[in-house]
Amino acid sequence: MAADIEQALLQQLADSADGSIPDSGDFATAVSQDHLKVVGVIKSLEAAEMITVEDISHSRFVLTSEAQAYLSAGSPEVKLFNAVPADGITLAQLKSQLPGDVSDVGFKQAMQQRWVALDKAAGEPRVVRKVDSVTDGAQAQLAAVAAGNELPKAEADALKKRKLIKLDTWKTYRVAKGAKFATQRKRQATELTSEMIASGSWRSKEFKPFNFNSMGLPPSGGHLHPLMKVRSQYRKIFVAMGFQEMPTNNYVESSFWNFDSLFQPQQHPARDAHDTFFLTSPAASDTFPEDYLARVKAVHEHGGHGSAGYGYCWKRSEAQKNLLRTHTTAVSSRMLYKLAQEGFKPAKYFSIDRVFRNEAVDRTHLAEFHQVEGLVCDRGLTLGHLIATLQEFFSRLGMKELRFKPAFNPYTEPSMEIFGYSSELGKWMEVGNSGMFRPEMLQPMGLPPDVNVIAWGLSLERPTMILYGIDNIRDLFGHKVSLSMVKSNPICRMGL
């Protein structure tokens, strides 16, 4: 029992003339206890400053497992010597008589000791004896080590080289009285309890100091997903800026709304099967606003509204093809068309929802991800309005410095890539795309000619990855995501 050992140890310290115990090993033997248990008591008393401790290092040779076998059965060199008959023997025969390791090690040692020799005089080499008899020195030395006796250095080195003995080191302790020495340990209280207060016993208690470096218990509540936390913040920003959320809960879309209504020509590469998920069920849409569809066809084929058009033969069958929407702008298009039908009034719309691309999944690409989109629709909007709106939006995300690069997008003109300066990463990076919707998109919807739409979009995943220091998108989204990542991420302090 640890308490008994502690009591005995403290008593012996109190009784000793110089207030010390010279060696904890001897003490353990004297009290018939395992030394490890004694060490536990010593460490605990040392932490309580009741004793002071000095290390004593010990070492001695012990046998390896290979040597253990030699100790009882004899060394391999002797076994080999005994196996060599007086008239010699071929190496092959010798090997067949002895187990492999015995013959290899034994032959090497016996040759070194010059007990045997290899006679190459007549044809196949033969092993012959060079001495008449041998004594097993190795076995005797191992027996001496096993008995705890010291060996001459040369012999010890030879056995060490043969990996027959190894040095075993351990520690014992010299123990002396410490600053708070007493023969009886005073237990420190770890918790203040209501009973202590009620009985007043807290007055005489010694309290253990708090360890502020220890790990606390993990909280037991649930956790929100980091991407969804960021989504919540974006939604708040949009609503605070007066934007209305669009109904984007329709992943299945027709090519008409996803591409054609956005003045994206039918031969555009984005409409290729290797970029877009096309559907076999439901394969095609049939219901469209037919007069609008006719106007979209016209603007693609030969323009109008001041446009030259694309000059190709527009096919209804292409527009009918169903797909998983490649951008939420398909919904923006539906909303703007609706706005035109209901009679134009100024509008600000936003959405954050999933979009789908038929891309190979890698560190930065997923087949589905979240698109953040915002747009303002009003009379007389300018590119300067777009820039100012983006400054306001991104400053709320904590990105104060922006610059803009000309870009190309089939349904916006002018188009601008948005670059933001990240103070965390210390560099400029692309944070989104923006532009003014083309007249070829807006005019066929029936919006008045002086009505403009400024819009921008970005992915939700990228800013989240930067915010939470995640460098592989597959660690953020999908069933393989580690739950401990979800549990350990902090609150979303975007712009705070």
């Binding site: 809960n249 992943y251 299945v252 076999t280 069920s281 030259a308 997923l366 309005h385 820039i387 403009n452």
Partner: protein, 571 residues
């Protein structure tokens, strides 16, 4: 977006000055192109090859190559010549060239006669001639690369347009564009020494040519193959696959015959204009192109290329109002000149400019050169003014648009419910809407063939993971548990996301439905853990509780206690 590799030193030579990488990057940023990578031929080979292939490496040039990302609509910038020209004009070092046709008075035009059968496979052809071209190794490579880039982009992998270029010294007009049965076409193709029959050549490319085999399906199964012959029945090309070896161009070629066959005439014209405009720079008379007469299958004559500038009516007022600026007509004209566009001021504006008074808003005609096929509308001209003015120089102004912020009720409810479920001790997961058929149906013991259980199906998934849109959230919740076996039990997870259901009532034939899945995974089934939660969630939403037992026993088996919560969030 296409990426064009150009030799840096040749580019700087053409630009008349040297730039540091940072300076050039900044110039690209202003113009709307992007310096994607700085590398060299040797560097590129090093990345591709294993280390021991040193011979190719030592022969490779160490000249610095700029990889430049070009906007997808600027076909005129897909080669060094085009990039240098655009940037030189942008920086005011160069006036935009006037592309024009050669004066053919008194000289017969080269003819290209179209046979009616071509309508069966590839109906259109346009052509032009560049006279007295001086090639060197760099120009020649650039000429070939430009055709490659056009083939990849505007020509949609040659399906819409295919370009053929020929040495006019090795063939003579009139040319004929025909469509013949494959067995009747026999010739020595480029990079071959022996004659092939066209149908056998297709098999040969399918089996042996990584680059060409992807184009073979464009004509392979057609009854007739398109072919262009000269007056002596020398085959020029078998579009859109390969040219004949007989008329191949080389460094010594001086007169180049360019033909573009197409399924889209508009794009064929753009491609022809682009190739002509870029390389007419090296003609004996720079920027002058010799026209070719194409006699279509109805016997009507068309002369190509059409290099005449297009006129677009662009009111000055429109530009200023869209950019939030008050620019003078002369300023606009100057800015547009740096983007290769010429402005003819309307008489009123010109008069105002002449006497120095402020101009009244009027319409101005902007003439668009044949290189700028990307300009369709006044808004494209307006963008060019903005680029030349500098996006980052525009004045910023918050719109005065007054609207009310509003959340979508369904999403608002979703947010509230997510909070509540997380407070109840569940951890949110986020999984994909796409999954395999097997996961969505069979693994859930819920056969796809059961009435009303179909799913939205994807026709072209790259992997089985993306076969259908899920109709239930449960499989991915279970997959999340499977991927997190090391986590201490119990696992308490939830997801609030959309599933997609077939719905003939909707215009697209499908609709989303929002669902909540809550999963408890412990060492025993612990049904009692999930039942009170079930109640709690119904109470949170204040909807009457309905029976939640599943008579099939599918939901509650083994160590999984699972609640699928479908009703409450329907809006």
């Amino acid at each position: 977006m296409p990426i064009v590799g150009v030799n840096r030193d040749r580019l700087f030579e053409a630009l008349g000055r040297k730039y540091t990488d940072e300076e050039f990057d900044q110039l690209c940023f202003e113009y709307g192109i992007e310096l994607d990578d700085v590398t060299s031929e040797r560097e590129m080979i090093r990345k591709e090859l294993s280390k021991d292939d040193a011979s190719a490496l030592s022969e490779a040039s160490e000249d610095v190559i700029y990889k430049i990302d070009i906007p997808a609509n600027r076909y005129d910038m897909l080669c060094l010549e085009g990039i240098a020209r655009a940037l030189n004009i942008f920086k005011g070092r160069l006036e935009a060239p006037q592309y024009r046709l050669a004066d053919m008075k008194g000289k017969p035009l080269l003819q290209l006669v179209v046979k009616p059968e071509t309508a069966l496979i590839r109906p259109y052809v346009v052509a032009a001639v560049l006279r007295g071209v001086t090639f060197d190794a760099t120009r020649y490579t650039s000429f070939i690369d430009l055709q490659d880039k056009l083939h990849q982009n505007l020509c949609r992998q040659r399906s819409l347009v295919a370009i053929g270029t020929h040495d006019l010294a090795k063939c003579r007009g009139p040319f004929s564009y025909e469509a013949l049965p494959p067995a009747d076409i026999s010739f020595v193709p480029l990079k071959q020494t022996q004659k092939f029959r066209a149908d056998e050549l297709m098999e040969h490319y399918l089996a042996n040519d990584q680059k060409l085999k992807k184009f073979v399906p464009l004509i392979k199964d057609s009854l007739v193959y398109p072919a262009i012959y000269d007056a002596d029945r020398t085959l020029l090309s078998l579009p859109p696959i390969i040219n004949g070896a007989a008329t191949a161009i080389s460094l010594e070629t001086r007169d180049v015959f360019i033909e573009c066959t197409a399924t889209d005439l508009t794009k064929a014209k753009v491609v022809l204009n682009t190739v002509c405009a870029m390389f007419a720079e090296y003609c004996a008379q720079p920027y002058v192109v010799e026209p070719v007469e194409v006699i279509d299958s109805f016997g009507e004559s068309h002369v190509y290329p059409d290099l005449a500038p297009r006129q677009i009516d662009v009111p000055l007022d429109y530009i200023n109002s869209r950019l939030g600026l008050q620019l003078e007509p002369s300023t606009v004209a100057k800015l547009l000149r740096s983007m290769q566009l010429q402005v003819e001021l309307s008489s009123a504006a010109a008069a105002a400019a002449a006497d120095g008074s402020s101009s009244s808003p009027g319409s101005d005609l902007v003439s668009v050169p044949p290189t700028r096929s990307d300009i369709l509308h006044a808004c494209d001209v307006m963008e060019d003014v903005a680029i030349a003015y500098g996006y980052n120089n525009l004045s910023k102004q918050i719109p005065t648009t007054v609207t009310q912020g509003r959340e979508l009720p369904l999403n608002q409810l979703t947010e509230l419910l997510r909070q509540e479920v997380a407070l109840a001790g569940y951890t949110e997961i986020l999984t994909w809407a796409l999954c395999s058929r097997a996961e969505n149906f069979d693994a859930m013991r819920c056969p796809e063939s059961a009435p009303g259980s179909g799913a939205v199906a994807i026709g072209n998934p790259q992997t089985a993971e993306f076969e259908v849109c899920r109709t239930t959230l449960l499989p991915s919740a279970l997959k999340t548990i499977a991927a997190n076996k090391r986590e201490p039990l119990p696992l308490r997870l939830f997801e609030l996301s959309d599933v997609v259901l077939l719905d003939a009532e909707r215009d697209v034939g499908a609709r989303n439905e929002r669902r909540l899945v809550v999963v408890h995974c412990g060492k025993a089934s612990e049904f009692e853990v999930i039942v009170p939660d079930d109640l709690a969630h119904y109470q949170v939403l204040n909807v009457p509780r309905e029976g939640s037992s599943d008579s099939s026993g599918r939901m509650l088996t083994g160590a999984w206690g699972v609640l699928s919560f479908n009703q409450a969030t329907r809006s």
